[in-house]
C-alpha cells in the first residue's frame, strides 16, 4: 500500500507492506537515530513524534502514519544539540544509545506540561530506560534544560 506523510518537514510518498511498523519504515528512510531496544514497548528508544505526540514507533503501524506529521531526532537537530549539551555537562551519557528516544520524549514533555515538578518529570520519562547512567545525571540535565530560560533571566 502507498502512504503519504510528512517526515521531518518533507512530504514523503512511500510504499509500505500492510503490517510494517513505523520503526522499520523510518530506518529504511535513513532515520538511524530511531533505535529498537526491546521491541516490546518497554524501553522508549524508538520514540518519535506523530502529530506532536510521543509514540513508540516499534508498535506503530506505518499504515497509520498516512496523512500524519512524523518527526524524528533528525528533524530537531537544533533542539537536540541544545539538550544534548546539558546531558554532556552532567555526564549523563555513557553509550548514548538511549539518548535519541529520551530527547524526543523530553521535547514532547516540554510542549505538553505547563510545570515541571520533579515527580511529574520522572513520571513522564519513566518509559525511557537507560542501562548506563542510573538516571540521576539525566534528571539533572533535564531539570537544568527545562529551567534554562529562568537562568538566562537571572543573568
Amino acid at each position: 500500500m502507498q502512504i503519504e506523510f510528512t517526515l521531518n518537514g518533507r512530504l514523503i510518498y512511500e510504499e509500505t507492506s500492510d503490517d510494517e511498523t513505523l520503526f522499520h519504515l523510518l530506518r529504511r528512510k535513513g532515520c538511524y537515530s530511531v533505535k529498537c531496544g526491546c521491541e516490546t514497548e518497554n524501553c522508549g528508544l524508538c520514540t518519535v513524534l506523530v502529530n506532536g505526540v510521543s509514540r513508540l514507533s516499534c508498535s506503530y503501524l506505518a499504515a497509520r502514519a498516512d496523512d500524519c506529521d512524523v518527526v524524528t531526532l533528525e528533524g530537531v537537530q537544533k533542539e537536540a544539540e541544545e539538550f544534548g549539551s546539558f546531558l554532556a555537562a552532567e555526564g549523563a551519557e555513557q553509550c548514548g544509545f538511549c539518548s535519541p528516544g529520551l530527547i524526543m520524549n523530553v521535547l514532547a514533555m516540554e510542549k505538553e506540561l505547563d510545570s515541571y515538578e520533579k515527580e511529574k518529570v520522572k513520571e513522564y520519562l519513566a518509559g525511557n530506560l537507560c542501562r548506563c547512567s542510573g538516571y540521576m545525571g539525566q534528571l539533572r540535565a533535564v531539570e537544568k534544560y527545562l529551567s534554562r530560560g529562568e537562568n538566562r533571566n537571572e543573568c
Partner: protein, 258 residues
C-alpha cells in the same frame, strides 16, 4: 510481532463488525497488546477512523470512546474533577507516557486482562460497555461473558455520586501490578474491585454495617476473592496486600468524608 496480510481502516462500525466475523480477522485498537502477540492473521481491522477517540461528559455520565487512549483518561479534566486523582493513579504506572499515548481504553476493557489496572478501576464504578451488537450492558456482566467477535464501541461511567480511590503494588515502578485495588463508596455501601490476583478483576459489594471497623470490613472484602501464585508473588501475599490496601482506601475515603 503480529503478522497480517491486509490492513483495513474501517469506514463504519458495520464494516468493522462484518470484517471481524471471520476468524482470520482481528480488531486493531492501540495495537500495543497485539504487537507483542505472535499471531498470524489475514486482516487487521483498524478502528482509528471511526471518531471513537473522545471523552464526552454529560450531566449523567462520562462517555469514553473505545479508541480513547490511557493518556487521555489520565489527564482528562472532567474525569479528574469528578473522581479526584483516580484515573491518574490507575494509569500512571502503565509503562510510560509514549505507551499510554497508544494503548486504548477499549483495548484494555475488551481484553479483560488479569493484570489490568483499567478494568480494576472501572469495575468499582457504575460502568457500562456499549457493544455494537450486544447493546449496553454492565461492565461486571461483560467481564463474565466469553470472548466473542462483537465490537466495543464506548464505555459509559455513570455519575452516581460514588467517590473512588485506587492503589496498586508493583515489583518495580512500571511493571505489571502484583495486586490492584479500587474502592468506591456511597453513604451505605462500599464497592471493592481487586485485579491482578493474578486473575482478572472482580467486584464485591459490602454494606458498611456488615462489620464493626474498617479493618474487619477490609478482611471481609479480601475474603471474597480467590488469589493465585505466579512469579510476582504468592496467593497468600496477594491476599495480605489486598487487606492492607483496601483498609487504607477505606480510611482515605472516610477522611475525605470528614
Amino acid at each position: 510481532m503480529i503478522k497480517f496480510k491486509n490492513y483495513v481502516k474501517a469506514e463504519s462500525l458495520e464494516e468493522a463488525y462484518n470484517l471481524n466475523q471471520k476468524k482470520s480477522s482481528v480488531i486493531g485498537a492501540g495495537m500495543m497488546w497485539l504487537k507483542v502477540q505472535s499471531r498470524i492473521k489475514m486482516t487487521l481491522v483498524d478502528l482509528s477512523g471511526l471518531g471513537l477517540d473522545g471523552i464526552e461528559e454529560t450531566d449523567e455520565e462520562f462517555v469514553i470512546g473505545a479508541m480513547c487512549t490511557l493518556r487521555q483518561l489520565e489527564i482528562h479534566e472532567g474525569l479528574n474533577e469528578y473522581f479526584p486523582g483516580l484515573f491518574k493513579e490507575c494509569t500512571r504506572s502503565i509503562v510510560g507516557v509514549q505507551f499510554r499515548n497508544g494503548a486504548t481504553a477499549g483495548g484494555s476493557i475488551f481484553g479483560r486482562f488479569g493484570f489490568s489496572d483499567i478494568l480494576t478501576c472501572m469495575l468499582a464504578l457504575d460502568t457500562y460497555v456499549e457493544l455494537y451488537k450486544g447493546g449496553i450492558i454492565p461492565l461486571e456482566e461483560f467481564c463474565r461473558q466469553k470472548f466473542n467477535r462483537d465490537i466495543l464501541v464506548r464505555i459509559r461511567i455513570k455519575k452516581d455520586g460514588r467517590r473512588a480511590l485506587y492503589a496498586s503494588s508493583r515489583m518495580t515502578k512500571t511493571d505489571f501490578p502484583l495486586i490492584a485495588c479500587c474502592v468506591s463508596a456511597t453513604d451505605e455501601t462500599y464497592y471493592v474491585s481487586v485485579g491482578a490476583r493474578p486473575g482478572k478483576a472482580e467486584l464485591t459489594v459490602i454494606k458498611r454495617k456488615e462489620a464493626s471497623g474498617l479493618k474487619e470490613l477490609a478482611e471481609l472484602a479480601a475474603d471474597h476473592f480467590h488469589y493465585g501464585t505466579n512469579q510476582r508473588g504468592s496467593g497468600e501475599y496477594r491476599k495480605h496486600l489486598t487487606e492492607v490496601y483496601v483498609k487504607r482506601l477505606f480510611m482515605a475515603l472516610e477522611r475525605e468524608e470528614g
